[in-house]
Symmetry: C2
Subunit: 118 residues, 2 copies
């Protein structure tokens, strides 16, 4: 795969594409948590939960710290800034398209429509 964009956006959007991981972020927003407590909450094995946490950690969205036998997870310092910026920048493109679509619709009303065919 040829790289065009930011590999960190790759990692964070991929991390956010799983509902369990979005739930973990939600949960950590309410307070730090151990792997065990997260695994309980999301009904998953410790090993499975650890993998999710690692994905979030690689994306910089979560940091963990092991004290004694307990690994505590908390929200990281990435703060979703770059992601918010990408999305906001591109929402403008989408909105510009809407205006263009309005024109097309008026045109279609005049001359009869094509199909989204095949």
């Amino acid at each position: 795969m040829v790289q065009y964009g930011s590999p960190s956006l790759d990692l964070s959007f991929a991390a956010l594409s799983d509902a369990t991981r979005r739930g973990i972020i939600d949960q950590l927003g309410r307070g730090d948590a151990s792997i065990t407590s997260l695994a309980d909450k999301f009904q998953m094995t410790l090993t499975g939960m650890k993998k999710h946490v690692q994905v979030l950690e690689r994306a910089g969205l979560v940091v963990t710290q092991k004290v004694g036998r307990v690994r505590t997870c908390k929200l990281g310092k990435r703060s979703l800034k770059a992601e918010a910026e990408w999305i906001e920048a591109h929402r403008k493109l989408f909105e510009a398209r809407f205006e263009a679509l309005d024109e097309i619709i008026s045109e279609m009303k005049q001359e009869g429509s094509d199909e989204t065919a095949n």
Copy 2:
């Protein structure tokens, strides 16, 4: 996988997690394009490009219409609103954590620090 969140967020964040697909959205923001022109631009086979476009289409980020032998791709009506909202809502959680971190750092300066160990 037990589902907790929105399956449409799953699809759109997954779609955005690939730099080529983010590039396609970028490109379509500058104007509609055929599969062939996108494949050229991103140096990829037609088949490969078609798959990317299908991922974007399933996520609602792109719509396509075939006229004659040409399939034209344009930005869809999803507009990234839900994605922007999720991210904005959660940025607040991250920022709240920062303040908490500041407290922790001051505490650590007083009593000597732990390690992010193991």
